[in-house]
């Protein structure tokens, strides 16, 4: 990342945190970090979102089985 790109990135993430805190004023039940992750997720293409989701879901399933945690729970 160039210095200019880094600056833009930090500005964008700061804006996301600002939005998250604004939402939390009305909806304190939401986690600010979750809200930021959602805003970041919405930046990526639907295909990328699903690919990431499938990778994450399958990895989580693998470690759940390895740890002997029932599917009901994990």
């Amino acid at each position: 990342m160039t210095e200019a790109e880094e600056k833009l990135y930090i500005e964008k993430i700061s804006r996301y945190w600002q939005i998250a805190h604004e939402i939390r004023v009305q909806h304190p039940e939401h986690d600010a970090g979750d809200l930021v992750h959602i805003l970041q997720c919405l930046e990526s293409s639907p295909r990328n979102r699903l690919e990431e989701g499938l990778r994450f879901g399958r990895a989580a399933d693998y470690y759940r089985r390895r740890a002997g945690i029932p599917e009901e729970i994990g």
Partner: protein
Amino acid sequence: MVEPQIITEDALVFLKKLGESGVPYLIIGMTSAILQGAPTGTKDIDIWFKSMDNPLLMSIIRECGGVYIPPAIVAMNAPMFGGTLTLFDPVSNPSGLKQFEDEYGKAETFDFDGIPITLLPLDRVIASKEASGRLKDKAVLPILRATLEIKQRQK
């Protein structure tokens, strides 16, 4: 090493053919939520058909190299897809949802890599997860509700 493609070409062709043929279906569950922006995970693509007793659907499954394995009392298996379509999980009675026609009427058409697909709206995914009562479904409710909040603000 080239990483294997997680969303296969067969899966994309299957979705395309379903759309072109007019076979009514809904992508439900976590896949629907993920496509609508929820940063979470899933093992497969839950897909709900109005009826599996549809020769056109069966022919599309075969054309795409898939196999439909119906539920069986003896083997106690749930309905499933085999062959090239194992990424999909056909769901027959999703928790907390109304009749297929009711939910289909509220479906959202979504552009997935140029392929129009029909998704269960996020508020209905939440209703389904709330109704299932399973711990793993309860665990994802906060992130799904937060995603819905952002979606509503972005409208």
